[in-house]
């Protein structure tokens, strides 16, 4: 057996063993998991950028991709919010504090916030799409003086489906963030807006001047919200979104997540609408 010597420093397939510190039930289908690597050295040297993702695994079941939704300033843990969908996410939902998981992170690109300095930002999150919004929004709020007006429009089907309930009061009262919450249909004791995200957005009518729009959510919401932003005069290069594709390796090798010549896992998941316009229409 010869020694491995291909010039790479780290095996990108080998996860860090991490411990689940806390499990937060966000909604009937979404739970958040706060995890920290067991290896102190690996944990202390771990850094990431807002928007980057991780492959979270339950050993013996498999890996799945989730965005790290804590801001990089949080040094105690990283958080993944997981919507129960298939096999791996169901296994993740059974995890308890103290359980061991695997984490391969950080993977992918991130929100180009360096280019947003001095600009207004409108964040729009729909459903589990609030996860990627959370990381970049919290990061930008920490540096609010470097940006213009910050606002959030967060929509879910019903009040129960709204994740990050613990954060909502703070967001609603924040001095640096203008928060609007909406649900699809009337519900008792709901003091906020009712209506689909694109419609509420049009009512709010943010000005496109010097403004970046960041939107994440299910494809149908993206489609209509994108149309609404365009209608209001936002340019495609100022509309930022994240893509989802089935993934395995997360490092641009297994060939699974390509959109034309780009790999969502490597070149994404963050793209501007202008960049997406250049890619083949295969959604």
């Amino acid at each position: 057996m010869s020694e491995h010597d291909c010039g790479c420093s780290k095996n990108p397939y080998l996860p860090e063993v991490a411990t689940v510190l806390e499990v937060i039930t966000e909604s009937p289908t979404i739970k958040s998991f706060r995890v920290r690597f067991d290896n102190e050295e690996a944990w202390n040297s771990f850094t990431f950028q807002p928007g980057q993702v991780g492959q979270l695994s339950v050993f013996g079941v498999g890996e799945s991709t989730f965005v790290i939704n804590t801001p990089p300033s949080c040094k105690d843990y990283i958080q993944f919010s997981v919507m129960r969908a298939g096999e791996v996410t169901t296994a993740i939902h059974k995890l308890q504090p103290g359980d061991k998981v695997g984490v391969r992170a950080p993977l992918g690109n991130y929100f180009p916030y360096e280019q947003w300095k001095g600009k207004n930002i409108v964040f729009v999150g729909g459903g589990i799409g609030m996860a990627p919004i959370r990381t970049i929004m919290l990061h930008v709020m920490e540096h609010a003086s470097e940006y213009g007006r910050l606002s959030l429009l967060y929509g879910a089907r019903s009040p129960e489906d709204m994740a990050y309930k613990a954060d909502l009061p703070g967001w609603l009262e924040s001095d640096v963030l203008h928060t609007t919450l909406t649900i699809d249909r009337e519900a008792p004791n709901w003091p906020h807006r009712v209506g689909m995200i694109p419609n509420v957005l049009k009512e709010l009518a943010p000005s496109p001047d010097n403004t970046i729009a960041v939107l994440c959510g299910p494809p149908i919401m993206i489609k209509f919200t994108l149309a609404a932003f365009r209608e209001m005069g936002f340019k495609d290069e100022n509309i930022i979104t994240t893509l989802e594709r089935r993934m395995k390796c997360g490092i641009g090798i297994c060939g699974r997540c390509n959109l034309g010549g780009k790999y969502v896992c490597l070149d994404g998941p963050v793209f501007s609408q202008a960049q997406l316009n250049e890619l083949p229409p295969e959604m």
Partner: protein, 441 residues
Amino acid sequence: MSSLLFATPKELTGWLAGLASGHRVLAPRQEGPSVVFRPRTAEELASADIDALLRRATASPKQAMLPQCETLVTFKSVKDAEDPSKLTTTLEAPIEAEPTVLFGGRPCDARGFVVLDRPYLEGKFKDPYYGARREATTIVTQACPSAFYSCFCNWVGGTPSDREGSDILFTAVEGGFVLEVVTEKGQALVEGAGFADASDKAAEVEAAHAAAAASLNPAPELSHVMEKVASRFTDTAFWDKETVKCLSCGACTYLCPTCQCFTITDEGSQLDGRRLRSWDSCMTPLFTMETSGHNPRPSKADRMRNRVSHKFSFYPERYNGFFSCVGCGRCVVSCPVSLDIRHMVQAAVEGATIEIKDEAPAKAPAAVAEAPEAKVREAAPEVKVPAEAAAPEPAVEAAPAEPAEAAAPAAAEKAAPAPKAQKSAPKTAPKSSTRSKAKKR
């Protein structure tokens, strides 16, 4: 580096037998209708009939670097003495690579590894499993004596005597073989072999190479193939028509030396289990199926479009104009319904309507030679083909069915219109189209 050595057939097999102690020697072996690269013992090699070792393999040698299935990570856990519901988990990554000699592949096979190297070794993340095997493997390639009907290396920048990716290239000559040492790794392998100098046979080797090149069908006009195939993306009718017969069996991808796709799955449990990597195919509907049921490539036309575009447009766009196809023709020979990637690429290019600026209009493409009527069928080895997808006709003894070598070496010049080697960007990847420009970061 380039030095020429002469070996008789007996000397060559004797050398291989010697290498088998200390190396895993992979060489083509006939198995039913298939010819597959297999580890061969010193005894087998010492007594081998050289012709049997030189058969055109029906499966690519990709498995030398990428086994069909391998362990990426193993996990083991022990229960906490106080609280048995808590586990301590240890992971290991078994990166292993035996010193290996890959013998008897063709120049297209060797170039296939150069194609795989780009995603596996040259990106932001390096694949250490592939890298370790690549490092430990010396590639000894035979220059093709003549082209098979399905060969089209000359379309994609190769020749039947291409050195790219090989450590040693050997050519059949009167009475034996001339070995050309291409790399230091190759030099190390012939050190002490006692082969005679063959500098005097250079002309004979040249003539053999020219004859092989002349036996290929001429390549059609393929300039701007990258843009033209890309411009067909939204032409659904085109892809529907081209894929009517496709069974989505995936044979084309499993046999391909450049197909890179794999899946990752877990086996066992956290207490004792492993994470595996296995070949996968973009031709199957589940490849891109998301949990929600949404599939960006639901139809076989979508998948064929992705496969052909990946090889002739997406990969070149990502990697400086290089194709992810080496023209080995395995997908052509092995498709149970006779779909031919050459035809699809050519049809896509011919019907393309995009305007390519800064150049004279493309001249009419040369007709692509039709496959001979009495087509030799080679069954897909090791590939689980669903029953309905299996070729209806029984597989015929296929291996050494090469046409007689073409006699006139002078014909070589006209046959191979010297496309660029993989080392530098092919001319067919122009930098002028608006589309490719817009996509550069």
